[in-house]
Assembly symmetry: C2
Homo-oligomer: 191 residues x 2
DNA sequence: CATTATATCTAACAATCGTTAGAATGTCAA
DNA sequence: TTGACATTCTAACGATTGTTAGATATAATG
């Protein structure tokens, strides 16, 4: 991996744990193994690192959304289902290491940054709501059922995926409780 | 209000918006209208301010819990009900300005402070779960129903009460959606 | 080899951080 | 009024922050 990418990866890893301000350029450089001034060859300033991370994140998620909304995704061998949510929404979004770090970063920074607050609302509440409700609509489930599911997943996200580092234990707890909720609410879980 | 209390109030107000580290002693002093060294007459150091806030919070919440678990609370004119949740759990905890600020502070700091992470888990997930489930048990509702309610309230808490300053608009949105969920799920709302 | 462009380094800057010593007030009892 | 104590001030400290100018090294090109 080149230096620029290593800076981004290290910065995200540290930002997602401590927030933007508490992590210094020197902290990042120490972890990457470079001198401070090298950062300023690749980035305009510290803020530029943060901006670059958000650009990458939104590119990543936009492409994910395009897949979700493409006719292919819905006319597949398996129709939209809970298995589909499992594969795309859970594994490739909520549980994805990059996306998870970005969400934790947004969770911290939204509290004092109006711009990030909008991104936070969008990517943690609005888009997940849209996705899950459209799945439930296709499954001909009631709106009330969809909202209940959405609320339960959102609660689990905050309980397990957005408190500190994402460990295998937390991932498992999230998946287990999500699956068990679905099983007891809908009586089935098709993979 | 004496200087010590003014320092605590101002500090909490600023900590809950920006986090602990980004707020400097000078920021707090500027807002209170005192010089930096005065803080060190009332507190051992900056950490001591944070500790004092948590002591006050846990005293506050412990006394609240005592009321909730006392026989009086349950043998009142109105039996434990959604109205009871509204009065005690919503107004005096989730929507209370002091508690809300403390929760936002915990939300920020839990990400890089193991001690606060435990408090965060306790006061935002475990205790609310215990309270709501005990109410639902008394109401002879199914465990599944209680969990659904808990998840919905938790989701609303994060959506409206823990993103940025708590405004009247957010308070209203929270109450409205909570009441409408209860109304459509249980068909009644007794004040 | 000489030249140019790319990448990283050394070394410092002004600003801000938490904290402290010690002087200056204010308050109240003797 | 004097003395004791409580409270706030002035003024600085060493450390750390984001950032920059300029030297140095590496790689590619002629």
């Amino acid at each position: 991996m080149n230096t620029k990418d290593r800076i981004l990866e290290t910065a995200l890893s540290m930002f997602s744990e401590h927030g933007y301000d508490p992590v210094s350029i020197r902290d990042i450089c120490g972890a990457v193994g470079i001198k401070e001034s090298t950062v300023y060859y690749h980035f305009k300033n510290k803020q530029d690192i943060l901006d670059s991370l958000f650009i990458r994140f939104e590119e990543h998620v936009d492409s994910l959304l395009k897949v979700l909304h493409s006719p292919d995704a819905w006319n597949h061998s398996q129709s939209p289902s809970f298995g589909w949510i499992d594969t795309y929404f859970f594994d490739q979004y909520l549980l994805d290491p990059f996306c998870n770090r970005m969400m934790r970063l947004m969770l911290i920074e939204q509290l004092h940054n109006k711009e990030i607050q909008q991104k936070y609302s969008r990517w943690l509440f609005e888009e997940p709501y849209r996705i899950e409700m459209s799945v439930f609509e296709t499954l001909s489930q009631s709106e009330q059922t969809g909202k209940g599911f959405y609320a339960y997943i959102t609660m689990l996200v905050f309980k397990y995926l957005l408190n500190g580092k994402l460990t295998a234990r937390k991932k498992n707890a999230f998946c287990e409780e999500a699956h068990s909720y679905i099983a007891s609410s809908f009586g089935f879980w098709e993979g």
